[in-house]
């Protein structure tokens, strides 16, 4: 009788241990699956972040390309003969006149705000290189901000002096700030 009881107790203990092991197994599986899921989500978010940064850089580069196109084709400073615009040429007198208008309305005039909407956070200037190796620079527009980064675009251009009809080699320098 007592032997039977002992055997029964042993069976119960064995079954209980087996159940405990099984529970531990299940819990371990759940933990491992959760870890894998979490790792997967972290990796996915890192990849997404990479992708977004890549797009952000692309859009920043597109911005400076767009700005360069706008300035290059700006009717306010573009050379023209009668009504025909001359691409790749800047009229020095128009340039100086526009620079004066922008400077005079800085920082709270309507003209400055208008051109600020167009040019954004950037510095735009034209460097003129003369045959005697001297260089002069005319600043068209600037903003006073502390930039985190600068992207520079340089475009060779002709600078026309209308009074004398002389053309000088110039460089349109656009510095875009982030």
């Amino acid at each position: 009788m007592s032997f039977d009881l002992l055997n029964k107790l042993k069976m119960i203990k064995k079954t209980s241990r087996k159940a405990q092991i099984q529970m531990a197994e299940t819990i371990a599986i759940i933990i491992v699956v959760m870890i894998i899921l979490i790792l997967g989500m972290i990796m996915y978010s890192k990849i997404k972040e990479q992708d977004l940064n890549k797009k952000k850089n692309q859009f920043n580069e597109l911005d400076i390309v767009k700005l360069s196109q706008i300035v290059y084709n700006l009717p306010e400073i573009q050379c023209s003969f009668a009504e025909v615009a001359d691409y790749g040429c800047i009229d020095k007198l128009k340039l100086k006149a526009l620079a004066e208008i922008i400077t005079n309305s800085y920082p709270s005039g309507k003209e400055y705000f208008y051109y600020k909407e167009i040019f954004g956070n950037s510095n735009i200037s034209i460097q003129i290189i003369y045959p005697d190796n001297t260089v002069s620079e005319i600043e068209l527009y600037h903003t006073d901000i502390k930039p985190k980064s600068v992207s520079i675009m340089r475009m060779p251009i002709i600078v026309l002096e209308p009074a004398t009809d002389k053309t000088d080699f110039g460089v349109l320098i656009i510095k875009k700030f982030d």
Partner: protein, 165 residues
């Protein structure tokens, strides 16, 4: 016992696969992080630089009467050189001015370039070239060129600029 061993081996196999896949993802992320992605600005900048430089270079006044660099090239490529500015011939002036404009632009900006002015039939110089680290076999090359008519002579001069990336 054999069945137990087989099941255990299977589990180990699965664990190895999971570990390998995870490592693979990590390496992928590390690899893509180091990659230089965008070149929209660079491609556009070099493309317009080459073409705008050539056009502006040719239209530039040399500060002597109404002559432009294009006029000097036409004179230098002709059978006789008639243009002289301050005692300097057209061919010498082309060399001097090319150096001025290249030094203040392409060289100053750290670009690798090859500017060639071809003047076939010129008794002085048939070709003038300025180069900086621009061997075509090494780099991607963005080129722009402009022909110059040498009328009434049946020849054409050419100005070519290669920007090496």
């Amino acid at each position: 016992m054999k069945k137990k061993n087989k099941a255990q081996m299977e589990i180990m196999g699965l664990v190895v696969i999971v570990v390998l896949v995870t490592l693979g993802f990590f390496f992928y992320i590390i690899f893509t992080a180091g990659k230089n992605n965008s070149s929209i600005k660079k491609d556009f900048e070099d493309d317009q630089l080459a073409s705008n430089f050539v056009i502006s270079f040719l239209k530039t006044d040399v500060g002597c009467k109404d002559y432009t660099i294009e006029t000097l090239i036409q004179d230098c490529a002709g059978p006789s050189q008639n243009i002289e500015c301050g005692g300097i011939t057209s061919c010498d002036l082309i060399e001097t001015l090319s150096q001025v404009y290249i030094n203040n632009t392409l060289k100053k900006w750290g670009k690798d370039y090859n500017l060639t002015i071809e003047m076939p039939g010129s008794p002085v110089k048939e070709s003038v070239s300025y180069e900086r680290d621009c061997s075509a076999s090494k780099y991607n090359v963005v080129s722009a060129w402009q022909p110059i008519s040498l009328y009434p002579y049946k020849r054409t001069a050419r100005v070519k600029l290669d920007i090496c990336q």
